[in-house]
Symmetry: C2
Subunit: 160 residues, 2 copies
């Protein structure tokens, strides 16, 4: 798959799976709403600070982020780490009207935080083969890009 084809997979996804290791050393997966991307290598996800995956990722930041479209038999597993942001700048950027139902105290709710997934490499799968995405390819593809809310580019269905 080309980087443009991989970007199209990411762009049309509403959700991604985060793979991480919990305090008991167990592999875990959690589906998260993931539409803010800076190219292929960086992704922002709003979440509850108190949730189990955030608590685990505070201790052990290495993780993977998996975008998939089972209908098209396409998958992309990005390897990297999660950085947690509590700065207002990030929290304002991702805030949507109605988010008070998740974070009653609003943007400054301490239970509201932003996870940034930072990829250093990846691996993709499609019906016609698989391959590696290197750090060089990621850096080259993402050069000059900024974070964008890609919600309008998704197909609106939570297939991923």
């Amino acid at each position: 798959m080309t980087t443009n084809e991989l970007m199209a997979l990411v762009d049309r996804s509403l959700f991604a799976g985060i793979g991480y290791t919990d305090e008991q050393g167990r592999q875990n997966i959690r589906n998260v709403f993931c539409v803010w991307h800076r190219g292929l290598g960086r992704h922002l996800i709003s979440t509850n600070t108190s949730s189990a995956h955030v608590q685990s990722l505070m201790r052990q930041s290495s993780a993977c982020l998996y975008f998939s479209d089972p209908k098209a038999f396409e998958g992309l597993c990005l390897y990297g780490k999660i950085m947690l942001h509590f700065e207002r700048e990030y929290k304002e950027l991702l805030w949507n009207p109605g988010d008070e139902k998740y974070y009653p105290a609003g943007i400054d709710d301490p239970d509201y935080c932003i996870m940034e997934f930072i990829a250093d490499s990846g691996r993709y799968y499609r019906y016609d083969g698989k391959g590696e995405l290197t750090q060089d390819e990621l850096l080259k593809f993402d050069e000059g890009r900024t974070f964008e809310n890609g919600y309008a580019k998704t197909d609106g269905s939570p297939a991923a």
Copy 2:
């Protein structure tokens, strides 16, 4: 969620995500077609012996299996391990007409094998809360059950 509600989530899923650790110690996720279940605790998945996840799971069998329905905001992460089966009994059970396109040498193709996921516990998530699924609950729910092809119970859409 009750065990019956969790079983309904598993039953209507066509795919599940396997979370595992690769040889480089990286978290990985791979979506797999997963419709053979023995209750909540055991699941059979056919796959290529040569694939990266099988090669990793041969070395380190601990894994998670994640069923999710993003539309319903439901998710179940099962914790446990993968046992690999190369016995004809399992390979015959899961063989479908047309599988020659994945395994050209047929049922006895050495590149065809069956992964059995064996759960020892789990954790579920729904819009209305989350909770733990204990080994006792799993054993009690699964008692007396046998493996069944649940394909007809899925909704046919690859949402999971």
